[in-house]
Symmetry: C2
Subunit: 147 residues, 2 copies
Amino acid sequence: MLTTFKATAKKTETGLQVESEARGFKITFDEPKSLGGTDTGMNPVEGVLCALGACQSIVCAAFARYKRFKYEEFWVELEGDLDPDGFTGKNPDVRNGFQEIRFSFHFKTDEPQEKIDEFADFIESRCPVGDNLGHGVKLVRTAAVKE
Amino acid sequence: MLTTFKATAKKTETGLQVESEARGFKITFDEPKSLGGTDTGMNPVEGVLCALGACQSIVCAAFARYKRFKYEEFWVELEGDLDPDGFTGKNPDVRNGFQEIRFSFHFKTDEPQEKIDEFADFIESRCPVGDNLGHGVKLVRTAAVKE
């Protein structure tokens, strides 16, 4: 059944700082001083890495029993390469977003490596955020409203 | 110049709850009770919407002067449609992530609508998170490690 998730993002009065909110839960985004911000929060592309790792972790937690995979701890380390010359307009041949995102899964478990690899494949294949980042999603601007 | 951004995500001992972190800034992700979580934070797909709106807001703030666009306030409303039958495996024909993401820009400004539309196009075209979601990005699993 199709579910609609919602969020808002609003620029504050401080530099590049933004307050995002979904169902009452908030995140403060900002940029480091090196990118013109006041460094009061992670930036949006770091937020994307955080959301991807969280989504993979939730898939791990939600499906471990179903896949008969036992583990004590799970974490993800993520990194992504981005060239600011893209979005700043300095180099039109450089894309604006990440050029590549890499991640590694870490399991504290007694399962054999073969079963770890198989479960890692499953996590990767089922993750909603990974699906959208890896394959893209239709983005539709419905309005640009003067308030 | 290529810059590498990093993050980690780690499952906590509480249900589906995950702590993500980038440069010392943290986000708690969870799922609502309807999706099997303990509802202590937004979920990762909501986090993606928050990051997209924040990224668009930062592009607005960072480039307004360069584009000679004056405004007092800016915010973004976002929503995305996702069918949980995809990632739960109930329906193999349904994709795991969002099927569509919609957003609207809201400007408190005295600029004419034509200039608003033009600046909205600019924001949309330059946004790094929008680039990655709209066009996809290469995702590489570098390891699945037994700790």
